[in-house]
């Protein structure tokens, strides 16, 4: 959702032509006692465009959100904020999805709530209908206007929020990872639009990837442990290079903890493939997402799956995991079961480790980090079973690997976004499943953690019996050892 600052005595009406600056003076901001920005001194001039960067959990998103009035100011001053600040972030996206979900959760008897349509979401706060229509077209959302917002894919709902922000005539535009989850064409289109918008609207972009930094960015803020460590000008090449280096920490040697010999899975027939889809399709009403798709994943094969936003990547994966209801009307053979022959979904899921952005949003439980990893043994979101000492030991080894050994009892929902992702990958791998599905595992991660994740996946590819199925947009995120490729884009 777009966050607007209510006009307060300290918010400023801009006078055209007059230079003006936003000032953070010794500002300390508390975010629900989970995180604190400490003693921030920062000046943002009218003619500057900033990139905020730093490691996962450093406070990048918090600093950006503070410009939109998030958090509680404990000390210092924040002055000169314009009246209309638009913010788009994973957090705002998650909140809106959660709000839509609650509309549905709350029904009591027998009404299926469709939720708010994309059209209604876009109309809210729109100041420029013409621009809105153009962007809807450019983002390829024209066909989705009457779809319920919560039924959109991750990439699609991101686009809706971006359009909402861009059309609100903001005085300051704050975008937290705007390019994440967009395919290459959409990425270019948005970058171009932002570049033209930059001529009259100051911007603050939170970016994990240096290589995504648009040309119009004039200054870079580097955040660590809630403090603004460096703020450098883009023109200072020396400082820019050092900062890049700082984010590229060397990956450590990784050793994947072993599986639990006691709770091992029922053996699979080595002669049969793990997955065999025969001419499968997904259809909603008259819309066909894909059809006539056949695909076989043999044991010990590693696959990469690509496709533009909305091409049905996640749908295809959920036919395999059994999360898609249409898996019962397709010819699907997985882990020795012909789907729809009386098997239960838990018999399928026991062979799969799964990580995605959607799973991260689903994982709304205040369970401890250790329990999140142990829940991977039971394929549950939250832990509802008594676990063994051995399982606990294995979970602790994974925590040590991730550098989180001292946080085993901390609550999962208090972790930063990137740390949550690392933990969910560990959860998925903890039982050494025959098939590990990673649906855009690097979405929302910074360079350092991205390298850590990719290194971890390479280790898994090389050193375990697990077949990896990897879905990703970024061509540069290739993984050594993945040699099979399936594209859902039309040839």
């Amino acid at each position: 959702m777009i966050t607007r600052i209510p006009a307060s005595p300290e918010s400023v009406q801009k006078v055209p032509g007059e230079p003006h600056e936003i000032r953070l003076d010794a500002l300390t901001v508390d975010f629900d006692e989970r995180f604190r920005l400490v003693d921030i001194d920062w000046r943002l001039a009218d003619d500057q465009h900033w990139m905020i960067t730093g490691a996962n959990g450093s406070g990048k998103s918090a600093l950006a959100a503070s410009l939109a009035g998030a958090g509680q100011v404990l000390a210092g001053r924040l002055t000169g904020l314009p009246a209309n600040v638009a913010l788009v972030s994973y957090e705002t996206q998650g909140q809106l999805i959660e709000a839509e979900r609650r509309k549905d959760d709350a029904d009591i008897m027998d009404v299926i709530s469709e939720g708010t349509s994309v059209r209604e979401i876009l109309q809210e706060g729109c100041q420029d209908d013409a621009l809105c229509s153009t962007l809807v077209e450019q983002f390829g959302l024209s066909g989705l206007m009457d779809r319920a917002f919560r039924k959109l894919s991750t990439g699609e709902s991101r686009k809706v929020l971006l359009i909402q922000a861009l059309t609100s005539k903001p005085d300051l535009l704050v975008l937290d990872e705007p390019f994440d989850g967009l395919d290459a064409a959409t990425h270019r289109m948005l970058a171009d639009h932002l570049a033209s918008l930059a001529e009259h609207v100051p911007m603050v972009l939170v970016l994990n990837r240096f290589d995504e930094c648009p040309d119009f960015i004039t200054d870079i803020a580097y955040v660590e442990h809630g403090s603004l460590l460096h703020s450098i000008s883009r023109q200072d090449e020396q400082a820019y290079a050092e900062l890049y280096q700082l984010l590229h920490l060397k990956t450590t040697d990784l050793v994947v903890p072993s599986a639990d010999p006691v709770s091992s899975l029922p053996a699979l027939d080595n002669e049969q493939p793990l997955v065999r889809l025969n001419q499968v399709s997904i259809r909603y009403g008259d819309t066909t997402i894909f059809s006539d798709l056949s695909w076989t994943i043999e044991r010990n094969q590693h696959w990469q799956l690509t496709g533009r936003n909305g091409s049905g990547k996640t749908g295809l994966l959920s036919l395999i995991t059994g999360d898609h209801p249409q898996c019962y009307v397709n010819d699907i053979f997985v882990f020795g079961f012909q789907r729809g022959s009386g098997e239960s979904i838990w018999q399928i899921k026991q062979y799969i480790g799964y990580v995605s952005t959607a799973l991260q949003w689903e994982y709304r439980v205040s369970t401890s980090l250790r329990h999140v990893i142990i829940s991977g043994f039971y394929d549950s979101i939250g832990l509802y079973s008594k676990y063994t000492d051995r399982q606990r030991e294995i979970a602790d080894q994974w925590l040590a690997l991730l550098g989180m050994a001292d946080r085993a009892d901390q609550a999962f929902n208090q972790l930063s976004y990137g740390d949550q992702r690392l933990l969910l990958i560990a959860r998925a791998m903890v039982k050494h499943p025959p098939l590990l599905i990673l649906d855009e595992p690097c979405l929302g991660l910074d360079d350092m953690n991205r390298q850590l994740v990719l290194a971890l996946i390479e280790k898994i590819c090389a050193g375990t019996e697990t077949s990896v199925l990897y879905v990703n947009h970024h061509p540069e995120d290739r993984i050594a050892g993945i040699d099979h490729h399936l594209s859902l884009d039309p040839a």
Partner: protein
């Protein structure tokens, strides 16, 4: 058809009302085996029908949907729900004769027509399942002797039944077997397997009776769950306006206040909800609740009596026969109330402020929960049952008010609940007239605003003890304990 409950001798009535036992997880070791390979046909594809069906199919069971021929021909929402999810859909004539078990998941009002239509089509020795016993108990529907009749009633909305299953958990579920229709003695095995198929066994299953389910469900929904929240909303809003509180603020305090204060109830019962108040406010809320309970007790008793002797269902069925004239009239009246017509303001209200400025709302929830529980248990309903039908469901209803006020609550609850809610409200608003005259904005709208927060120790101990020792607190602590792992962020 005659009211079934009223045909039973007193000792049988008491025995049925007193049936309620929390089942042990080991009683479900047989899993879904009793239903394996059997053909399950669901009637109705609303939120309960669809989501229960999705769970049962994911548990390895054979599920299809039967709809009326018109619903299929016109491709209505229920048809789309079923087909888009990959289920076989057919008419009654096509599917019911093939069914080993028919799951009737239609609204109460349709039960008589639906059951009369399908009963002749059902095969000999099959099973008919309900998720609410109104048709059997209040309408006295007589089911063919060779058919087994069971009930499996998840105590949560359909969307949650699905969401919890997908997480690897489930929702608390009530099961029952209709003793008059258990010719092969297999009813309990089937009901247990069904509860496993929906995931309910993981969150706790209550073994009850059709009668206990109906008489407690009706009582809970008309009084504390919907009636008290509606009456409280209307009275608190009018009072705040009279006291000069900003209308937008008053509207928001009520619309989101019920959800916020009952969230505390969900986690830690009445005790925790009261503990969210400052000490002086807690004592005020306690005193107000005691006063409210004395005034409203006869009304709760009247509702329970009318439910027990069948007056309630007879009155409501007369309205069904009269094209819902009363129901629709009351619905329209509710839409015209000042609370309903005033939009919530856009000011911030912090979570704690809902407690601090909503002392009377907290008192109303406490009084309503305790009275409903006391009245049900004194009428022979077991505490576990009374807990689920009062305290447990209050936050679920409060969520609907947060969405779109009373309109949303009344349009998402069943027509049966809605009708009872208006009966309650129409009696309770005048009943509290004198009481409300003594109310000022310190307990609703503005908070106590005390400089001195001190209280008398002895008095505080007395109040705390009284809150904590209410029987709904002990049973609640036990039942919530079974779900301790379900610590979710809502």
């Amino acid at each position: 058809m005659a009211n079934y409950f009223n045909t039973l001798p007193l000792r049988e009535q008491l025995a049925q009302l007193g049936k309620c036992r929390f089942m042990h997880l080991s009683e479900f070791d047989d899993g879904v085996n009793a239903l394996k390979g059997k053909k399950m046909v669901v009637i109705g594809c609303g939120a309960q029908g669809l989501n229960q069906g999705l769970n049962l199919r994911d548990s390895g069971l054979d599920v299809s949907y039967t709809l009326r021929a018109e619903a299929i021909a016109e491709k209505r929402q229920s048809w789309r729900n079923a087909t888009e999810n990959g289920f076989t859909v057919g008419t009654y004539e096509e599917l019911v004769p093939t069914a080993d078990i028919v799951l009737n998941l239609t609204p109460d009002k349709q039960h008589t027509a639906v059951v009369n239509a399908i009963m002749p089509l059902m095969k000999r020795g099959a099973c008919l399942s309900y998720s609410h016993g109104f048709n059997i108990v209040e309408e006295g529907m007589k089911i063919r002797d060779d058919l087994t009749v069971i009930m499996v009633a998840p105590k949560c909305p359909g969307s949650e039944v699905r969401a919890e299953y997908v997480r690897g958990f489930g929702v608390p579920t009530l099961i029952a077997v209709h003793d008059d229709n258990d010719p092969n003695g297999e009813g309990l095995e089937l009901a247990k397997a069904y509860a496993v198929g929906t995931g309910g066994h993981k969150a706790g299953v209550l073994m009850s009776s059709f009668i206990a389910e109906v008489k407690s469900d009706l009582m809970g929904e008309q009084t504390i769950l919907c009636g008290m929240l509606q009456t409280g909303s209307l009275l608190c809003f009018d009072k705040m306006i009279e006291e000069g509180v900003d209308a937008g603020y008053a509207s928001k305090l009520i619309q989101y206040g019920w959800e916020t204060v009952t969230e505390a109830l969900k986690y830690g019962g009445v005790t925790n909800m009261m503990d969210r108040l400052s000490n002086p406010a807690k004592i005020r809320a306690y005193d107000l609740a005691e006063e409210l309970k004395d005034i409203m007790r006869p009304l709760y008793q009247k509702h329970q009596d009318d439910i027990m002797n069948g007056n309630f269902s007879a009155t409501m069925m007369a309205d069904w026969a009269n094209d819902d004239a009363q129901l629709l009239g009351w619905r329209a009246e509710t839409a015209e109330t000042p609370f309903e017509k005033t939009a919530a303001g856009d000011m911030e209200i912090s979570e704690q402020e809902y407690f601090d400025n909503g002392i009377l709302m907290v008192a109303m929830v406490k009084a309503g929960v305790e009275l409903a529980y006391e009245t049900m248990t004194s009428a022979g309903i077991i505490g576990d049952s009374a807990y689920y039908e009062s305290l447990h469901e209050t936050p679920l209803i409060a969520n609907t008010i947060a969405r779109k006020k009373l309109y949303e609550m009344n349009s998402t609850i069943s027509d049966t609940a809605e009708y009872g809610c208006y009966l309650y409200n129409n009696a309770c608003v005048p009943l509290l007239g004198d009481f409300m005259k003594g109310i000022r904005s310190d307990v609703i709208g503005r908070g106590l605003k005390l400089n001195d927060m001190s209280v008398d120790n002895a008095r505080l101990i007395e109040v705390n003890q009284s809150i904590r020792s209410h029987p709904v607190e002990a049973i609640g602590a036990t039942l919530r304990g079974y779900m301790a792992d379900m610590k979710r962020i809502v």
